[in-house]
Each structure stands twice: as C-alpha cells, then as structure tokens.
C-alpha cells in the first residue's frame, strides 16, 4: 500500500479563526478512510485543504508526496464530489454532460476535450450507469444522481477520491448500494478514498479506517477501535450506546 496523504499537526484558519488544528493522519492507496464528526466539525475544510483550496496555518500536508502551494498542481489526479446542496438539481444537462464537466481543466480551455465520449462512457460504466448516457440528469432519482456525480469524480481516472457527504438525502438501501460500489472501486482500481460523513452508521461498516474530528482530532484508527473509544462521545458531545454485540462492537446514537 502506497501512502497517498500524510498530514501532521495540520491546522487551518478561515477569516482569522482557527477551524481545524492538530490533525494527524495518513491514507493509502486501496484504503477507504471515513472522516466523521458532528456538523461544523471542519470535515469539508479538511477536504478543501487536501485540494489546496485553503492554506495551512500550521503543520504539514503532503498528497502524492507534494505539499505547499504545489498542491493545486495535482488537482487533476484527485476526484472530488462536493456536497449535494452546491448544485441546481433541475439543471438542464444530460448524465453525460454532467460527467463531462469533470474533464474540464485549465488545459482544456480553448480546446475540444479529446476522447470525451469514451472517457464519459468509461466513467458511467464504472458506476453501473452506462445506460443513462443520454438521460436528463434532472429526471434521475437521488441515488442515480449520486452515481452520476461519482462518475464525474472518476472521469479523469484519479488515484485519490474525496467524497463530501455523498449519502445525504439517500434512503438506507441507496446508501448501502453506494457504499458497496465505493468498496468495489477501491478494491478494483486501488483508489484511496476519503469519505466525509456526519452519519456514523452509514460509514463505519465500510471504512478501513476512521478519522473522528471536531475542530481538532479526537481519534484515528480501525473502525472497531474508534467505535469503542470514549473520544467518540467527546467529539459528538453525546453518549453512544451499544446496539449489537458480535465479533465487533457496533454502536449507534443514543
């Protein structure tokens, strides 16, 4: 397993206010890391720091061995899926058009995108949506739209995938199906995946590692270890109770 992200004592300030501090973790290829924490914990800011969109206040962060201002140069190697609220859901684009927006970069300005159709079809096939190529994006169900947006994030064949609350608004079967797809992609393509969610129940069973933050890092490790930890209660500022006991302990909201 190659190390893809290495963060050490990372701190980020926005508008003069520190929103993240003392974040230390690593993520490797073929590994799904779940970033959990309550609303306003700084999870999205962490993704924006990895993308080089917000500067570090302190500490170090390297992605594919690159750090500092050069982080923005490796954005084409990163697939990114922002939160659902950031786009207009009735926008008049087909599924293929949506995926093709993921192929745009400074290099494609003034130029046609070479092999656009092939790349779009491959990305849609990877998420099981090839038959939806011409379908209007606005007519798809929430789960189908999420798969198309995942295809967009995959369109440039990235080695690192950053997903921001991809399960929001999906019913439980759609969440399960989406997480299963992520695990398949991770195993098949050797992708490093950082999956942000405030919903512990949907992310914990799928993740190889969990990183629990609430402005600062509370715990980072194997899901079973994180779920048993008192630091989890501290981060969410509430009590978790055991739901079932089996080989691994599972807990849920109290």
């Amino acid at each position: 397993m190659n190390e893809v992200i290495a963060a050490h004592n990372l701190a980020v300030a926005l508008g003069g206010k520190t929103v993240l501090e003392d974040i230390t973790f690593t993520a490797g290829s073929g590994e799904l890391t779940g970033v959990i924490g309550p609303n306003g914990a700084g999870k999205t800011t962490l993704l924006r720091a990895i993308l080089g969109l917000v500067p570090l206040q302190e500490g170090s962060l390297s992605v594919f061995g690159i750090s500092g201002r050069r982080l923005k140069d490796i954005r084409p190697r990163i697939g990114y899926m922002p939160q659902r609220q950031s786009f207009e859901r009735r926008f008049p684009l087909s599924s293929a058009d949506v995926v093709a927006t993921g192929l745009l970069s400074p290099q494609t300005i003034f130029r046609r995108i070479r092999g656009r159709e092939d790349q779009v079809r491959k990305a849609l096939r990877a998420v099981g949506m090839e038959g939806y190529y011409h379908r209007p994006f606005q007519g798809l169900s929430g789960g189908e739209q999420q798969r198309v947006l995942l295809a967009r994030a995959l369109s440039r064949r990235p080695k690192l995938l950053l997903l921001d609350e991809p399960n929001t608004g999906l019913d439980f079967p759609a969440q399960q199906s989406f997480v299963k797809l992520l695990r398949e992609l991770k195993d098949k393509e050797g992708l490093a995946i950082i999956l942000v969610s405030h919903d512990l129940a949907s992310i914990a069973p799928a993740a190889d590692k969990l990183l629990c933050i609430n402005r600062t890092m509370h715990i980072h490790g194997h899901p079973a270890e994180v779920l048993r930890s008192p630091y989890l209660d501290e981060a969410y500022r509430c009590q978790f109770d055991f739901l079932t006991t089996g080989g691994d302990s599972e807990r849920c909201w109290h």
């Binding site: 969109l53 990114y80 207009e88 008049p92 058009d97 993921g102 970069s105 967009r152």
Partner: protein, 270 residues
Amino acid sequence: MSEILAYGFMQRALLAALLVGLLCPTISFFVVLKRLSFLGAGISHTALGGIAIGLASGVDPVLTGSIFAVGTAMSTGHISRLGKISEDTVIGIFYASGMALGIALISTFKGYYPELFSLLFGNILAVSSRHLQLMAVVLAVILVFVLLFFKELLAICFDEEMAIAGGLPVGPLYMGLLAAIGLTVMVSIQLVGVVLVAALLVIPGATAYRLSSNYRSMFAFSLIIGLSGCFGGLFVSYFFPVPPGAAIVLILAAIFAGAVAVKYYLERRP
C-alpha cells in the same frame, strides 16, 4: 410591411431589435442558470446614477451609465466573494444607492432632458446609428467571450465548487460574465428603459428553462423567445398606441405565462 421598412427610424429600430434580441437571450441563459436575476434588476437601476452623472456633466450618459453598470456588477461579485456580505445584500445596497444618486442629481436639473426619458422608459424608435454601432460591438465582444468559454461558464453555473477544484479560472470567468451582464443592461436600456430592462435579462432564459431538458435546446429557445419578444413588441407598437419597451416586455411575459400553462397541462395529462 414595405411601408414599415420605408422609414429610416424603423430600419434602425428593427436592427436594434435584432441585436438586442440576440444579445439579451444569450446572457439570459447564464443569468437564469447562475440565478443572477436579481443582479440584472439591480444593475439596471444602479445605472440610473451613472446616467444622471453623464447628463449633469455633459458626458455621454450611455458611457457613464455603462461604467456604473459594469462597475456595479463586478463590485457585487467581488464583495460577495469575500464572504462577508451575501450577494443579495450587496445588490440591494447598490440598487438603492444608485437610484438615490440618480434621483438626487435629476432633481437639480433645470429644463427638459428628452434623453433622460428615453433612458428611463426606453425608445427604440429613437435609436441612433452610433448607438447601433455600439450595440453591434458589444454583441460581438460578448459572443466571442461566450463562444470561447461556453463549456467553462456552463460548468461554473452547474457547480462552482467543482469547477474551482478542477483548476478552472473561476474568478476571472465569473467577473467576465458579470461585466457582460453590465454591458448588456446598458446597451439594452435604449430599447426598454432602466425600469424594464431586467425583463429582457430574465424572461427569455426563464421561459426556455421551463421548456427544456438539455442546455442546447434551452439556449435555442432563449434566442427564439428573445427575438420574438423584441420584433413582436416593435410591430405591436407600430400598429397600436403602446410604447415599444412596454410592448416587448408584455409579449415576453405572455410567452412565459403560455409556457408555464402548456408545461403544467402536459405534465398532468394522463
């Protein structure tokens, strides 16, 4: 028909309707997709301040109004991007301040200013050859901008966060779009006036949005609707005692209402 074309002022009016009928729907497409409708209304009303400064100082009011309109559009974008004040709040402040400046200056004028009333309420029949040249230049510049950056502008309208993450120059392109809106407002004011110009920026795109499931047909519908409104309004005002600006906007509003009704009927048909 030949009677209409025999008049020089009607020939210029028809050419103005063609130019604005192409320009406004092009910008309207992006205004609606990026949800900038309030910005269009704000810029047009703010331009009144610039127009009044031009009339008071003896400088061409179209020039001073254009500087005000583009300046307002770009300042709104810049201030809202700093993240301290929302775009709606910034527009609301500029909107009221520009109008107040215009009213304050106009109240000091002595005598009658026919140009002022043309710019307030529009007068397509009084459009000059110089103004037509200005419209043609603005249309050419904006079409080149849109054609060169169409896919990037569309991506920014769809998901700005993703466009930034993809490394696109979102800031400069967004500012370019705002400047294009400001210029479009200013050259269109001659047709329908400060009060009604926002309708040309919103209704073609909003109607096309209702009728389309893909952006190509939305763009085509927007152009067809914009041209229909401009030419239709001009002909209505030739045959009936209705000011052309008001006729253009009323036809566009009727097309929008018709589109909403047809869509509603089709969606509920068994």
